[in-house]
C-alpha cells in the first residue's frame, strides 16, 4: 500500500515539475522574442538592418498566436504521452513552415528557435528532433522563399550582391549570379543567425535564472530562520516537559517493579510467572526508555552537566561486560573486550557518561548483529598526566549504508526502519551518545560496510589518577565473577532497618528481601528510626530522603550526633536519580545510595557489599507456602472499578452502603450543579460549582466510578481556571454520565422494599435527632435518621424527610435542624 501511494505521489510531483518548467520556458522565450522584435523594429527604423514593414506586422501576429498555442501545448506536454507530443510538435512545425514560406522566413527564424528550444527543453531526445526539424524547416522556408521570390532585400544582398526592381507591387527581383545560392544563403545567413539566437537565449536564460534564483533565496532564508526559531522554542518546551514527565513516571514504576518481583518470587503457577516475567521485561524496557528520554531532554534543556569523579576503568568495564554479556549470549554472539593491559588503572572523569556511551554503542551493536561477534577495543596514549583513550566498538552486523550515516544522529530516527522494525528502541541512543561526546569535546567516527559490519570509534581525554597498569581484563573479570555472581544468599541473622514514610515502599522493600530471610525492621519516619536505633543494634540502615518532620539527611546527622550506630552502613533511598544529588549524598556521609525504583539485583549487590560477611550464607531456598488473601466476589458494572473502591473501603458491606448513599445523593448533586451552571458567569456560582465538582471528584472515586471522577476533575480544573467555555462543553457530558451511572448502580443495589406507612414523623425521633445534631453527635443522628426512614410518609412530609436525610448525610447541621422544625410544622 505504502509504496503504491508513494509512487503516485512521486508522479504527481514529477508532472507538476515538468509543467512548471515548460510554462516558465514558454514565458521566457516569449519575452526573448519580444525583445528581438523591438530590437529589429529599432534597427528597421534606423535603416541599419532593413526589414519590410509589412513583414514586421505579418510576422508579429502569427507569432503571438503561436505562443498561445504553445502555452496550451506546454500543458499537454505534461499530460499526454510521447506519441501525442511528437505529433503536436510535428503539426506545429508543418504549420510553421507553411506560414514561414507564405509570409516571411525572416520572422519565422526569429521566433521558431527559442520556441522549440523552450517547449521541449527538458527532454534530450525531443531536443534532437527539434534541432533537426528546425534546420529542415529553416531550409524549407529559405528555399521556398527564395524559389518563389519572396525573400527580402537583405537576403538578396547577402546571397547575390545584386538587386533588381522586380514587379509592380514593389518587390525585389533577384538576378542569380551566384552559382550556388542556397548553399551560400545557408552559410552566410542561416548558420550565423542560428548561433546568435542560441547565444542570445542562453544569456537571457541565465540572467533570468540568476535574478529569480536570488529572489527565491532571500525568501527561503527568511522562512528558514522563522522555522528554526519556531522549532527551537518547541523543542525546548518539549524537553522541559519530558524531563518533568520522566521524573513523575519513575515513581510509580517503583511499585510496578516491586510488585512484579513479588509475584515472581511468591507465585508458583508457571503461567502467572510467565506473565510476570514478561511484565518485568517490559517494565525494564520502559525504564530504560524513560532514562533515555530523561537524558536527551536534560541535554537539550541544558540541565545535563558532567560530574567528574575518580573511577577505576576495570570495574567500569566489568559492569558493562556483565550487563552486555547476558544480552550477547541471548543472541548467541561472542562478546570480546580487547583492552590494552598496559594502560593506566584509574582516571578522573565522568564515568557514568562513559558507561552510558559504551552501553549504548554495545547495545546497538548487539541489536543489529545476528551472527558473529562484537568487540570493544580500548587503547591508550599517555602524555604526562593526560591519557587519550581510544574506544572502538566493532561488530559483524548488518552495517549502515553510506547515505544513512548522517541520519544516525537524528533524534527518534531509525535507520532502515523497514528492515529493522522488530528491533526495539527509541532511536534516541545515538543522539545521546553524540551529545555526551560533544560535552567531552569528542565525536563519534563511523566506518561501515553495508551487510558486513560497522566500527564506531571515539577518543576521549581523561586525567590519570593512578598510573599502575590495568592488567589483563579477562583474567580480572573471571576472578570477580566468583564474588559477584553470588546473588542467591540468605542472611537470617542480619538486621536491616528501612525508614520510609510511605508504607507501600516499605512493603516493596520487605518483599524484595523476603527470600534472604533477613530480619527487617520498619520505621515510618526519622524520629521512629532514632528510637529504634537506640533500642537495638542493626547491621544496615536504608533511609528515604523525602520524609515529613525529619528528612533522611537530618536523620543521618542526628544518628551521627547521638553516635547511635557507628560503623553501620547507612544507605540513602531516593527517587532523585540526578548525578548531582548522588554527589551530595556521598558528601553528607552516606555510604552509598540506591535509587528508586529499587531493582532487586542492585539491592542484593548492596547487601553483599555492606553486610558483614559472617552473616551471609549460601541459599537453600526451601519452598514456602503462602496463603493468598480471600478474593471477594464483586459484581461487574460498566465504568465502575469495584476493585479500586474495595482497596479503599476494605469491606464489601461498606462498598454497598456507599454505593447506595452515592445513589441517593446523585439527584440533589445534579440539581445543584444545574442551578450553579445556570448562572455560571457569576463568580459566586462558579465558586459553588467548583466546590460541588470537587467533592464529586473524590466521592465518585471512592465508589469506583473513576471515569466520573475524571470528568469531575476536568471540570474542577476548568472552574479553577475560570474557563467558562470548557465548563460549557463538559457540563452536559458530566450530567449525562451521572445519569448513566445512576442507572447502572440501580442494577446492583437492592430495590427498596415496601415500608409501613406512617401518618407523621414520630416526635420523639425528631427530638433525639435534634439533640444529636446539637451536640454534633452524628452517631446518634445517623441512627435516628435510619429509624425515621423505616416508614413511608404522606407525600409532602416524605419530601421533607428526604431533604432531611440528604442534609444529614452532607453534615449540614443548620439546614437539618431547620428542616426538622419544618416537619414539625
Amino acid at each position: 500500500m505504502g509504496t503504491v501511494k508513494e509512487s503516485r505521489d512521486d508522479i504527481a510531483v514529477y508532472i507538476e515539475d515538468r509543467e512548471y518548467m515548460a510554462n516558465q520556458y514558454v514565458m521566457k522565450c516569449f519575452f526573448i522574442t519580444m525583445v528581438f522584435y523591438v530590437v529589429s523594429f529599432i534597427l528597421n527604423q534606423l535603416e541599419i538592418f532593413i526589414v519590410d514593414k509589412q513583414v514586421m506586422t505579418s510576422g508579429f501576429f502569427p507569432s503571438l498566436i503561436i505562443y498561445v498555442i504553445m502555452l496550451i501545448g506546454s500543458k499537454m506536454v505534461s499530460l499526454s504521452n510521447e506519441k501525442v507530443k511528437f505529433f503536436i510538435l510535428f503539426a506545429v512545425m508543418v504549420v510553421y513552415t507553411i506560414m514561414g514560406i507564405t509570409i516571411t522566413y525572416h520572422v519565422v527564424l526569429a521566433s521558431v528557435l527559442p520556441f522549440l528550444y523552450a517547449t521541449l527543453y527538458s527532454s534530450k531526445k525531443l531536443m534532437r528532433y527539434v534541432y533537426i526539424l528546425t534546420i529542415i524547416s529553416t531550409i524549407c522556408i529559405v528555399y521556398g522563399g527564395f524559389y518563389w521570390g519572396l525573400c527580402d532585400a537583405n537576403m538578396a544582398l547577402l546571397t547575390t550582391g545584386r538587386l533588381q526592381e522586380h514587379s509592380l507591387n514593389g518587390q525585389f527581383l533577384l538576378t542569380t549570379v551566384n552559382p550556388n545560392p542556397i548553399y551560400s544563403l545557408f552559410i552566410f545567413y542561416v548558420v550565423p543567425r542560428c548561433l546568435i539566437y542560441f547565444a542570445f537565449v542562453f544569456v537571457c536564460n541565465n540572467i533570468i535564472r540568476i535574478v529569480s534564483g536570488s529572489i527565491e533565496k532571500v525568501k527561503l532564508t527568511a522562512e528558514l530562520e522563522r522555522a528554526k526559531t519556531e522549532a527551537e522554542t518547541a523543542n525546548q518546551a518539549k524537553s522541559k516537559f519530558l524531563a518533568r514527565m520522566s521524573h513523575e513516571i519513575r515513581t510509580p514504576i517503583n511499585a510496578i517493579f516491586g510488585m512484579n518481583e513479588m509475584i515472581l518470587r511468591e507465585s508458583k503457577e508457571p503461567a502467572i510467572r510467565k506473565y510476570a516475567s514478561d511484565a518485568k521485561d517490559s517494565s525494564e524496557i520502559l525504564l530504560s526508555i524513560i532514562n533515555e528520554i530523561l537524558d536527551s531532554s536534560k541535554i537539550e534543556s541544558g540541565m545535563m552537566e558532567l560530574v567528574p569523579v575518580n573511577y577505576k576503568l576495570g570495574s567500569l568495564l566489568n559492569d558493562i561486560y556483565n550487563m552486555m554479556n547476558v544480552r550477547a549470549k541471548e543472541k548467541k554472539l561472542e562478546l570480546i573486550f580487547d583492552i590494552d593491559p598496559g594502560m593506566p588503572k584509574q582516571y578522573y572523569g565522568d564515568d557514568k557518561r562513559i558507561r552510558q556511551i559504551l552501553i549504548n554503542l554495545l547495545n546497538n551493536a548487539i541489536k543489529y548483529t545476528n551472527r558473529g561477534k562484537v568487540t570493544l577495543k580500548i587503547t591508550c596514549d599517555v602524555e604526562g598526566e593526560i591519557a587519550t583513550l581510544h574506544f572502538a566498538v566493532e561488530d559483524t552486523g548488518i552495517g549502515i549504508k553510506q547515505e544513512d550515516i548522517g541520519k544516525l544522529y537524528e533524534e527518534f530516527k531509525r535507520i532502515d526502519s523497514g528492515r529493522n522494525r522488530n528491533v526495539e528502541g527509541t532511536g534516541l541512543g545515538m543522539s545521546i551518545v553524540q551529545q555526551f561526546l560533544k560535552m567531552m569535546n569528542s565525536e563519534l567516527h563511523i566506518e561501515s560496510e553495508y551487510e558486513k559490519g560497522s566500527v564506531f570509534s571515539f577518543d576521549i581525554e581523561q586525567k590519570i589518577v593512578d598510573k599502575k597498569p590495568l592488567g589483563d581484563f579477562h583474567k580480572r573479570y573471571i576472578q570477580s565473577v566468583d564474588t559477584e555472581f553470588k546473588t542467591s544468599f540468605i542472611a537470617p541473622e542480619a538486621k536491616v532497618l528501612v525508614v520510609d514514610d510511605v508504607e507501600m515502599n516499605r512493603t516493596v522493600f520487605k518483599a524484595l528481601l523476603k527470600k534472604t530471610r533477613m530480619q527487617i525492621l520498619e520505621a515510618g519516619g526519622g524520629k521512629e528510626c532514632l528510637d529504634m536505633l537506640k533500642e537495638q543494634k542493626v547491621d544496615i540502615v536504608f533511609l528515604d530522603h523525602m520524609m515529613p518532620e525529619m528528612d533522611g539527611i537530618e536523620t543521618k546527622h542526628r544518628i551521627k550526633e547521638l553516635q547511635l550506630c557507628e560503623g553501620v552502613p547507612i544507605i540513602m533511598l531516593t527517587a532523585n536519580a540526578l548525578a548531582e544529588d548522588r554527589e551530595m549524598y556521598l558528601q553528607e556521609g552516606f555510604d552509598d545510595f540506591l535509587s528508586k525504583p529499587i531493582l532487586v539485583n542492585k539491592l542484593d549487590e548492596m547487601m553483599l557489599k555492606y553486610l558483614p560477611k559472617t552473616l551471609i550464607m549460601e541459599a537453600d531456598y526451601p519452598e514456602e507456602e503462602e496463603e493468598l488473601p480471600e478474593v471477594v466476589e464483586l459484581p461487574e458494572l460498566e465504568e465502575f472499578d469495584f476493585g479500586y473502591a474495595l482497596s479503599i473501603l476494605q469491606k464489601e458491606e461498606l462498598l454497598y452502603k456507599f454505593l447506595e448513599d452515592f445513589h441517593h445523593s446523585m439527584n440533589s448533586i445534579m440539581q445543584r450543579l444545574e442551578m450553579y451552571y445556570a448562572s455560571i458567569e457569576k463568580s459566586e456560582s462558579l465558586q459553588e460549582y467548583r466546590t460541588e465538582v470537587h467533592s464529586l471528584k473524590s466521592t465518585s472515586a471512592t465508589v469506583g466510578a473513576l471515569l466520573l471522577s475524571k470528568v469531575a476533575r476536568l471540570l474542577e480544573v476548568a472552574a479553577l481556571e475560570q474557563d467558562i467555555q470548557k465548563i460549557r462543553t463538559l457540563h452536559p457530558v458530566l450530567l449525562e454520565e451521572m445519569m448513566k451511572h445512576k442507572e447502572r448502580i440501580e442494577t446492583v443495589i437492592q430495590q427498596e422494599e415496601e415500608k409501613p406507612f406512617a401518618e407523621k414523623v414520630e416526635a420523639a425521633y425528631l427530638d433525639m435527632l435534634k439533640l444529636g445534631l446539637r451536640n454534633e453527635d452524628y452517631a446518634t443522628a445517623d441512627f435516628m435518621c435510619a429509624e425515621i426512614q423505616k416508614y413511608r410518609y404522606p407525600k409532602q412530609i416524605q419530601e421533607k424527610v428526604n431533604e432531611l436525610v440528604e442534609s444529614i448525610f452532607r453534615l449540614e447541621t443548620e439546614e437539618a435542624l431547620h428542616i426538622i422544625e419544618e416537619i414539625r410544622g
Partner: protein, 253 residues
C-alpha cells in the same frame, strides 16, 4: 468502656446528668418513647439503664413496666423526681431497680453506678477518670461529606469520630472538645488546609494535637508545601482503611 443507656425527657436535669456521665461512660441517650427504647436496646445492649424520672407522669409508667418485665438481666437505676411520683410507687416494689434518692448529687449517682457495675474506685483520690480508658477522639476535616462519611465508617466503633465540613466548623468542635488527633484535608475551598492548620495551631489547648494531612494532589511541589507545615504525617487520598488505622495506631499509642 461501659455503656450506659440514659432514658428521660429532654430537660435541663437530663442534660446535666448526661453531660456528667459522659465523662466516665459511653452514654446513649433516649427519649421517653417505648418503641424507640426497644429499638435502641435491640441495637446495643448496655451495661446499665439509667432512667431520669424528672417530669415523668403517669404516661411513662409503661416504660418502666416494660423494663421490669422484659429486661430483667440489665440493671436499671432510677434518678430524679417524677412529676407524679404516686404513679410509680407500685412499680418500684420488688424489682431489680435501683432507685436513688431524689436529691442524690451527680457524684452520688456515679458512686452508685460503680457499685452496681462492680467497678473498683477511689473517690478521694479521684481515680475515676484514670480507671477508665477513654475512647480516643478523632476529628475529621474535609469539605466533602462523603469523604467524611467514608472515614467515619472506617473508624466508628473504635474511636469517637467528629466530622467537620470546613475549617471554621472544625474550630467550633475543637472548642467543645480537644480531639486526640486530627485528619485534615489539604485542598478545601475558601479556607484550605494550610489556613485551618494555622488556626488550629493558634489554639493553646490544641496546638500539640497531631495533625495528619490528607491530600489528593500528588505532585512534588504540593507535597513539599504540605511538608513545610510540619504536620505529624500525610496520607494520599484515597487512603485505605488499613493506612488510616496504622496511622492512628502510630500517633495515638
Amino acid at each position: 468502656m461501659r455503656r450506659v443507656f440514659l432514658i428521660g425527657k429532654f430537660n435541663e436535669v437530663f442534660e446535666e446528668v448526661n453531660h456528667y456521665l459522659s465523662e466516665y461512660f459511653n452514654v446513649q441517650v433516649c427519649v421517653d418513647n417505648l418503641d424507640l427504647i426497644k429499638g435502641m436496646l435491640k441495637l446495643n445492649r448496655p451495661d446499665l439503664i439509667v432512667v431520669n424520672l424528672t417530669d415523668f407522669t403517669g404516661l411513662q409508667v409503661g416504660i418502666l413496666e416494660e423494663l421490669k418485665k422484659e429486661y430483667t438481666d440489665i440493671p436499671v437505676m432510677c434518678t430524679g423526681a417524677a412529676a407524679e411520683p404516686a404513679e410509680f410507687v407500685n412499680i418500684f416494689r420488688d424489682t431489680h431497680f435501683h432507685v436513688l434518692d431524689v436529691f442524690a448529687t451527680h457524684e452520688q449517682i456515679l458512686e452508685s453506678i460503680y457499685e452496681v457495675l462492680h467497678i473498683d474506685y477511689d473517690v478521694d483520690s479521684g481515680v475515676f477518670r484514670k480507671a477508665m480508658s477513654k475512647r480516643k477522639n478523632v476529628l475529621l476535616i474535609d469539605d466533602s461529606p462523603l469523604q467524611l462519611r467514608t472515614m467515619n465508617e472506617m473508624l466508628k466503633g473504635k474511636y469517637d469520630v467528629q466530622m467537620a465540613t470546613s475549617g471554621v466548623k472544625a474550630l467550633a468542635l475543637i472548642g467543645q472538645r480537644v480531639p486526640d488527633i486530627i485528619f485534615l484535608d489539604y485542598d478545601m475551598p475558601v479556607c484550605d488546609g494550610r489556613m485551618t492548620l494555622q488556626m488550629i495551631r493558634e489554639i493553646e489547648e490544641a496546638k500539640d494535637v497531631p495533625v495528619i494531612f490528607l491530600t489528593g494532589v500528588k505532585d512534588r511541589a504540593h507535597i513539599q508545601a504540605v511538608l513545610e507545615l510540619h504536620p505529624a504525617g500525610y496520607l494520599l487520598k484515597p487512603a485505605s482503611a488499613r493506612m488510616i488505622h496504622a496511622t492512628l495506631q502510630k500517633h495515638l499509642y
